[in-house]
Structure formats: C-alpha cells, structure tokens
C-alpha cells in the first residue's frame, strides 16, 4: 500500500528535530491563543506569517498548522474553567463545560475535551492520508468551469453557515470579491481601482485585510465593553482529572458522532471548525433521550463539539492540499504561507512536494499528542494567564500586529491599510455584517475570476458551459439547492434557533 509508505515517509520528515520543535512551538502558541480571549486564530496566523520567512517551508507550514488545531484545544480550557470561550469554536463548549466545572467536575470535563479532541485528531489525520490521493485524481477531471462552480459552492456554503441575514452574507461575499480585484489585472496587467497608489498596484494584501478586520476590529469592539471583562474564575483546585467509567460510556458515542460530523463539515468549502462545533452540539441535543440535561452540565455537550471542531480543523486541509482551494480564512492564510515559499497549492503539490504534504499530515498526529500533554497537566498555568488584564493585553496585541504587518513587505502603508480595515471591520460588526464571508470572497476572488475568464474563453463566450459540463452542473445545482433551502421560511427559523441557542 502506498498509504503506509507515504505515512512512514511523513513521520520520518516530521520527526526531524527542527520539525518537532516547530510542531511544539505551533502547538504552544496555538494553545496560548486559544486560551486568551480577544485574539483569534486568523489574526495570529496572519501575525506569524512574516515570521515564517526565515524557516524552511515544511517547518513553517507545520508550525502554522499547529497553531490552528492547537487553538481548538486551548479554547476549550477557558470555556470550561472561566466561561469565556477563547475561540469562536468553543462557544458551545462553554454551555455545558462551565456548568460541569461549577459542579466541581472541571477535571473530567477538561479530560473528555482533550481525549475527544485527540481521538478526532487521529481520525482526521488518517482521513487526510486516505482521501488525499483519490481526491487529487478527481482534481485532474476539473477544468476551469468546474473550478469556478466549486468556488461558487464554497461561497454559498459560507453564506448558509454564516449567522444572520442571508442577503447580508452574500453581500459580504461580493464585497470580498470586489476587494480582491484591486491591483493589477492578471491577464492584461491593467491597474484596477488602485488610484495610482504604488502600494496598491500589487493588490490588497490578504494578511493586511485579515489582520484589520479580525485583529484590530475585534480589539476596538472589545474596548467598547470596557477593558475589564467579568471573569468568574473557578477558584477551587481542579482535583481528579480522570473521568469516571460512566462519563466515558456517556461520551463515547458523542465523540464518535462529533468526529464524523466535524470531518464532513471540515472538508466542505466554506465550513470549518466553528460551524462543526455548533452542529455537533445541536445534533447531540436532538438525539439525547433527555434533552433538558443540556445546559446543566451534560458531558456529551462537551465531548461532541470539542471532537467536531478538532476534526474539522484538520480535515479542512484536504481541499487545500488536493484542489488548491482554501475552504476558510485560516486555510487562505496557509496558501499565503505556501506562496511565500514558492509553492503553488493545487493537485500537483502532492506529487511534487511529498515531504511537505506527508510531513505536515504526520506532524498533525504528533502535534495532537503534544497537545494532550501540554493541556492536561499544565492546565493551571494556562488558567493563570487569564489573570493578565485586558488593559495590558490589548496594546501589546496592537503593537505586535503592527510590527508583524510592517515586516511582511517592509511597507508602512500596509500598517495604515490594516488600521483602515480595522475601522471597516468595526463598522461591519456594528451593522451586523459577518466578516468571515468577506474574507473568503477575497481569497477566492482571483481564482474565481481567472477560472471564469478561462472557462468562457474556452467555450467562446457561451455561458451555458457551466451547465453542460456534468460535474460543474452538479456543483451549481447543489449550491442553488442549498441557497433555496436556507431561504425557506421553515428551515430559516430552525437556523436562527440554532444560532441564538449557541450565543446564549
């Protein structure tokens, strides 16, 4: 079997000292980011992007991947202990996890979250290895029309899974697409919407916009509420990490369901870890014999979302590695990291860069093992970090972000642009627009335009090409179907219900 040979090769790469170190750093930084509220994964990966300049490509990507799945672990810790979700992905974990902590069962809650995450991480690692090769073959059947339709599907997914108004989410998609067109046109080289500003000739940097909309905007928004957030820290000592036999029996099916659901949602473009955890929690509540237990410390309510978000965080690498399409904003930053190192993401990466792909896959398993060690025994240290007041944390984040953006291109203008996008992001939040679809639109914009142009050029201007090619037609039908489903009043009410529930 190729698979084992490939995985073995991956482990050889991942076990080299430098890559082990990178993996550890990634996992540590990820946990840190996950624990600290007010600083998200996207902003962190964007911030650390310039840092990876000096590293070998494999090490750089291993580290960035580690941050992403590490944050899923860290987020659960604060959700459970302090009722502050450090990450959007662990918002639902806080509902039951914090209740368990209040009942003196913080230890088992943390342990189940870690075990569930580890299990999901292992399954997802294998899944990437198994699905990688066949999907790469499928990618060969993809022409420009199919690529375009797939990206439309991805954008529609982001709309369906965004909360709030569908219309607003689509508008954010299109706004992102427009932003992506600033700069030189790829085919003709004409300068578009750049107003003769030389710094805009290359287009708006993705990291710049991401840092503005997710980093700075988030800080400004948090300051609205006042720097002092109320933190009802669980003061008593955490005793007895081990879950009881009953806990294990209760949570096993939940972990399995969460893993499956998370893996599927992770692969789909536009999905990702946040929605996976919401969906898993809702599913558990639906399936439970006694749904009223949820919200009062049900261990399934911790196990399922934590497994789901970790599985999704990892399987979202599949579309990136096989099709070269980033399914969410963090993966889009990974594309940025790859291009910095001269690697063009796409089907050919698997063949041309086996070290990179399999090394990264293997490192995910190692990283998950490290995380379980980092998180469980050291939980006290992470909680102590929460005592750092926000009034000291936010200026530090601002400065770190500013230096980070500056160092990408050594361009002061980029820093100011990020600030401007911070204000734009603040405005978007105030008008209840979600920034995630915007970022996805911006990422997919250039790819979409290129494939649209190419498809129409091949078909000699005939738009029906998107419907006459079977694969492309199927993708578009799914996209339309999804959109119609979301707009149906009955399902819409359900969707709103899911999101309000998860917010409380």
């Amino acid at each position: 079997m190729d698979l084992f040979a490939n995985l073995a090769h991956g482990f050889v790469v991942a076990f080299s000292p430098i890559n082990l170190l990178m993996c550890l750093i990634g996992a540590l930084v990820g946990t840190l980011v996950g624990v600290l509220p007010g600083i998200g994964t996207i902003a962190t990966v964007a911030m650390l992007l310039p840092i990876t300049f000096g590293l070998p490509p494999v090490g750089a990507l291993i580290m960035l991947a580690g941050i992403y799945y590490g944050a899923q672990y860290g987020g659960s810790t604060t959700s459970i202990l302090v009722n502050i979700p450090g990450e959007a992905t662990s918002v639902v974990t806080a509902i039951d996890g914090h209740q368990m902590a209040k009942q003196g069962r913080a230890g088992p809650a943390l342990a189940i979250a870690a075990i569930g995450s580890f299990f999901a991480g292992c399954v997802a690692t294998v899944l990437i290895a198994v699905l990688g090769a066949p999907l790469t073959k499928l990618a060969l059947a993809f022409g420009p029309a199919e690529y375009f339709s797939l990206m439309v599907l991805g954008l529609i997914f982001a709309v369906v899974l965004a909360k709030g108004s569908v219309l607003k989410a689509i508008a954010m998609n299109v706004f992102g697409l427009l932003l992506s067109m600033v700069g030189s046109d790829i085919e003709t080289g004409a300068s578009r919407m750049a107003f003769n500003i030389p710094e805009l000739a290359d287009g708006l940097g993705f990291a710049t916009v991401a840092m503005g909309v997710f980093g700075f905007a988030e800080i400004i928004r948090n300051l609205d509420a006042g720097a002092e957030m109320n933190r009802d820290l669980v003061q008593q000592k955490i005793t007895g990490l081990m879950p009881t036999r009953k806990d294990l029996i209760d949570s096993t099916p939940a972990v399995l369901r969460g893993t499956v659901l998370g893996s599927i949602l992770g692969i789909l473009p536009g999905g990702g870890a946040v929605i996976a955890s919401f969906a898993a929690y809702t599913l558990e509540k639906k399936l439970a014999k006694n749904p009223s237990r949820f919200g009062r410390g049900a261990i399934e309510g911790v196990a399922a979302p934590e497994s789901a978000n970790n599985a999704a965080a990892q399987t979202s690498f599949i579309p990136l590695l096989t099709l070269g399409i980033p399914p969410n904003a963090v993966m889009a930053l990974m594309v940025g990291a790859m291009t910095i190192h001269g690697i063009v993401p796409g089907p050919q990466v698997m063949q041309k860069q086996p070290d990179l792909v399999w090394g990264m896959i293997a490192s995910m398993w190692i990283g998950n093992l490290m995380l379980i060690i980092i998180n469980l025994p050291l939980v006290g240290i992470w909680v102590r970090l929460l005592r750092v007041p926000y009034r000291l944390m936010f200026p530090s984040i601002v400065i770190f972000c500013a230096i980070g953006i500056y160092s990408v291109n050594n361009a002061p203008v980029d820093v100011i642009l990020a600030g401007v996008f911070g204000l734009v992001g603040y405005w978007l939040i105030k008008h209840d627009f979600e920034p995630a679809p915007l970022l996805l639109g911006m990422v997919l914009g250039p790819l979409m335009e290129e494939n649209l142009r190419r498809a129409l050029l091949i078909s000699r201007g005939d738009w029906s090409v998107f419907l006459t090619r079977p694969l492309s037609a199927a993708l578009l039908v799914i996209a339309t179907f999804l959109l119609v489903l979301t707009l149906l009043p009955m399902l819409r009410a359900k969707r709103d219900e899911v999101f309000t529930e998860s917010e409380n």
């Binding site: 578009r192 800080i219 009034r391 200026p395 820093v415 008008h431 142009r453 000699r460």
Partner: protein, 253 residues
C-alpha cells in the same frame, strides 16, 4: 421593537440619515480636497485645492447634467473622470438621500448598512469605469469588477429595502475612545517606524494604544510597554532575521 414608539422616533431621524447620505455622496470629492492641501507643502503630486474645488463643482453642477442630456440625445462623448464620478456615484446617492426623507426607516441598522455598501459598490463602478470591457467574448480588465460592482449595488439596495420593510435593530452605539486611540497608535507606528526605528515607535505606540481605555494604570503600562518593546526588538530583527531599523536615524549615524 416597540412599534408605536419606534415609528415616531425613527421618522424624525430620517432627516439626519438623509443628511448623512448627502455627505457620503460627496465624500470622495471632500477627501480629494483634503488630500490636495498636501500639494501646498509640496507633498505628493496632483491638483491643488482650488483646482479640485473648481473641477468638482463644475462637474457636479454643470458637467454631469450636460453629459446626461448629451447621452439622452444620442451624443456619446467621452466624459471626464470628475463628471463620471458625479454621474456614477454622487447623483444616485443624492437621489437616495432625497428618497430617504420620505421613508419610514424601520431598521436603521439594515437601511444604513445597505446604502453604504451600495455607495462602496458605486464607487468601485466609477473606479473601474476607465478599464476595458468585453472584447468579443473575452473578458477585459474591467468586466469582472463591473459585474461584481453591479451585483453589490443590487444587494446593497436589497438590504436597505429590508430595513424599510421589516422591523429590526436601530443604529448601534459607537464609542470614540477605543477606535481613536487604537487608530492613532497604528498611524503613529506607520509614520515612525522608518525614521525612528522599532524601539521608539513600538514604545510610544504602546502608550498611545493604552489610552484607548480609561482603566489604564500608567506605571504598570510603562513597565509592560518597555518589556514588550525589548522583546520585539530582540525577536524580530535577531531571532527571526527580519531587517528593520532599531534606533532613530539621527542617533544611528
């Protein structure tokens, strides 16, 4: 939302919303005017303030209507970019502002959000108006921006319409302190990093950002700021090998 109360309250406010849109309609012109003051001091190239005012006023008052009439009469001449700005961006928004006066806004959050998005899209349409469109069946540089710009105009209008048709939240409260100081800190950093170096830029920016909340305690802020500056000054240039100036230029020489 309480209906009876909400109506009278929002109805009066639609004048101020309309005023806001009027300002938005000439915002690019005002921005260029402010920018043009720099040319007095010799920064940047471009038109001086007087030229800007004259050109835009002429375009808004005379040029655009003439172009409009000319187009209606089948006489399609190449209009200047100022006239196009008035035609594509300012006039539609002024029309929206006038319409707003007669509307009962039921959700200011959606209505204003939708119109501002529409304004952004119109601005993008103007910005890409000088680009080449379709050549036969192949896309020109301007095709895609115009396509998505048009789509965003429609979506923005749709969102604004929902703000008129269904009840929703009013405008959210904006605070000024956080945005002001965080932005000031970012701008200071951007301006200072080249001439003054990481050490000064990072430390001063830290202190400016810290003013974003009234809960700042200065002694601990200065200590943390100094530590962070030291950390960054070691991390970025030495550990990560990213070249950046460390100290003010006049000291280094």
């Amino acid at each position: 939302m309480a209906d009876a109360m909400g109506h009278s309250a929002t109805a009066t406010r639609s004048t101020s919303v309309a005023m806001g849109f009027c300002v938005l309609a000439v915002a690019p012109q005002i921005f260029e005017l402010i920018w043009s003051f720099g040319t007095i001091f010799g920064w940047g190239a471009g038109r001086g303030p007087l030229q800007v005012v004259a050109a835009h006023a002429a375009a808004l008052v005379a040029g655009a209507p003439i172009a409009l009439l000319g187009a209606a009469g089948g006489d399609a001449k190449k209009a200047s970019s100022d006239v196009l700005l008035a035609l594509i961006y300012s006039y539609p928004l002024l029309a929206v502002a006038i319409l707003t006066l007669f509307m009962t806004i039921r959700s200011a959050q959606d209505y204003v959000g939708g119109i501002v998005l529409m304004a952004l899209a119109l601005f993008a349409l103007w910005a890409s108006s000088d680009l080449q469109g379709m050549r036969g069946f192949s896309f020109g540089a301007g095709t895609a921006p115009r396509m998505f710009g048009g789509l965003l105009v429609a979506l923005g209008a749709g969102i604004a319409l929902t703000g008129l048709l269904s009840d929703g939240p009013a405008m959210a409260h904006y605070s000024w302190r956080g945005p002001l100081f965080v932005m000031a800190s970012i701008v200071f950093f951007a301006l200072a990093i080249r001439p003054l170096g990481v050490v000064v830029a990072a430390f001063v920016s830290f202190l400016i950002a810290a003013m974003g909340t009234h809960e700042t305690r200065w002694i601990e802020t200065i200590i943390v700021g100094a530590c962070l500056t030291l950390g960054c000054a070691l991390l970025f240039p030495y550990v990560l090998g990213l070249p950046m100036p460390m100290f003010p230029r006049f000291l280094a020489q």
